[in-house]
């Protein structure tokens, strides 16, 4: 064990990485500081379960609903995989939001952590985008009308609203193109943004260290 670790360490610097990432000094903090890790864990769970769901899910108006019924009722543990993805999504929005509140109320966004905050905002918006695009995919009544309403909101933007609406829906109407592009955004574009931004976010957290709980006179 030790031999393997030192063999790897000599060639990769693994122990240094381990020390920098996991043995860095942290101030005495409380449970609110675990929300970032909780969000990260949920993001990874969403990735794993989401990848698994694409094995059976078919993003077309004819098949989407039936394929999800198949996952829920026929595939072994399909209910579990989809259940984790469904509830994990809700929980992730919650943890990311609470994480933002923690950072906000402790003033942890201040110098030198402004860039961490900005990447965090990107992560929050991306998470909401994932929730919004994922909501359409079951292609049931609730999904359809929620997306009809949600995309219509974009149409109210002055001047470019009508254009943005068509970009979002892939046309003027909610159609198979909307489902297809929401699927693409949900499984490729947004996760790519999410995980690369998580990389930057984590780098900054490790580089700058985490803030301590502000004292009464600060």
């Amino acid at each position: 064990m030790n031999g393997l670790v030192s063999w790897l360490d000599e060639r990769t610097g693994l122990l240094t990485v381990w020390r920098v990432v996991f043995e860095r000094k942290v101030p005495r903090v409380n449970w609110w500081y675990t929300l970032g890790s909780a969000s990260l864990f949920l993001a990874l769970m969403q990735a794993v379960t989401g990848i698994l769901l694409t094995m059976y899910y078919v993003p077309t108006p004819e098949e989407a609903y039936n394929s999800i019924q198949y996952i829920m009722n026929e595939v072994a543990f399909g209910w579990l995989i989809r259940g984790i993805h469904h509830w994990g999504a809700t929980l992730m929005v919650l943890t990311v939001f609470l994480h933002m509140l923690r950072v906000f109320y402790y003033g942890a966004y201040k110098y030198p952590r402004e860039v961490t905050w900005v990447t965090g905002v990107v992560l929050l918006l991306t998470t909401l985008g994932l929730g919004f695009t994922g909501y359409l995919l079951p292609w049931n009544q609730r999904a359809y009308w929620a997306t009809a309403v949600g995309t219509s909101l974009v149409g109210t933007v002055p001047l470019v609203g009508e254009f943005l609406l068509r970009v979002l829906r892939g046309g003027t109407e909610l159609s198979f193109l909307t489902l297809s592009r929401f699927f693409g955004a949900h499984i490729w574009i947004l996760p790519a943004i999410l995980f690369s931004t998580i990389g930057v976010h984590l780098y900054l957290v490790i580089r700058n260290g985490i803030s301590y709980i502000p004292r009464r006179d600060e």
Partner: protein
């Protein structure tokens, strides 16, 4: 039982050989032997609890994933049975005649009409052989070539004669045959799936 478990845990906790591996950083380089090194510290305790919980969660999700992935392989897609193929009078003696039939098959959440082609060979003696059109090499579809009077597989040049025997190429065995029966001049074959 609990006492036994606790004894076991304490033996692990005081076993330097195990925790020498877990310790890294300063202690790894600081070779002096302290008695306290052999006790489990808070840091090590938290690390192993986190490790055990992580392993449990991985197992809890990981095992169902295996079932999830192999699920479709475990269900039958069709039902075996006799299928009406063609009236015997339609067959030309001595020449394999392509005959198509459709069956409802369950694929995932859909029941679909799947059409297959087989070759029926009526011999001069009056008995019938029905050959599968699936090459025994790597399951491409063979085609009867009237000019050459052989079955040709387009993928790797497998050649079969009119009885399905291999003439040349990579196929390891003759074309598969169906069980047949004739009722009121109508040819039936037994389809397994």
């Amino acid at each position: 039982m609990l006492r036994l478990a606790l004894m076991h845990i304490s033996r692990i906790c005081y076993n330097p050989a195990i925790f020498a591996d877990l310790r890294c950083g300063t202690k790894l380089r600081f070779t002096m032997d302290w008695r306290s090194d052999y006790y489990i510290g808070r840091r090590e305790f938290v690390a192993s609890v986190a490790g055990i919980l992580g392993a449990l969660i991985t197992l809890l999700v990981g095992l169902p994933i295996i079932g999830y992935l192999i699920a479709p392989a475990l269900r039958a897609s069709g039902v075996a049975g006799w299928v009406s193929l063609v009236p015997l009078s339609m067959l030309q003696p001595g020449i394999p005649t392509p005959c198509s039939f459709s069956r409802l098959k369950q694929t995932g959440w859909k029941r679909m009409q799947m059409t297959r082609t087989v070759y029926a060979l009526l011999r001069d003696s009056g008995d019938v052989t029905v050959l599968s059109d699936i090459c025994t090499h790597l399951s491409c579809k063979v085609r009867w070539s009237p000019e050459r009077s052989v079955f040709v597989c387009p993928c790797h040049d497998g050649i079969f004669d009119r009885e399905g025997a291999v003439l040349s190429g990579p196929p390891p065995r003759p074309l598969d045959r169906f069980d047949t029966k004739v009722e009121n001049g109508q040819l039936f074959i037994y389809v397994e799936d």
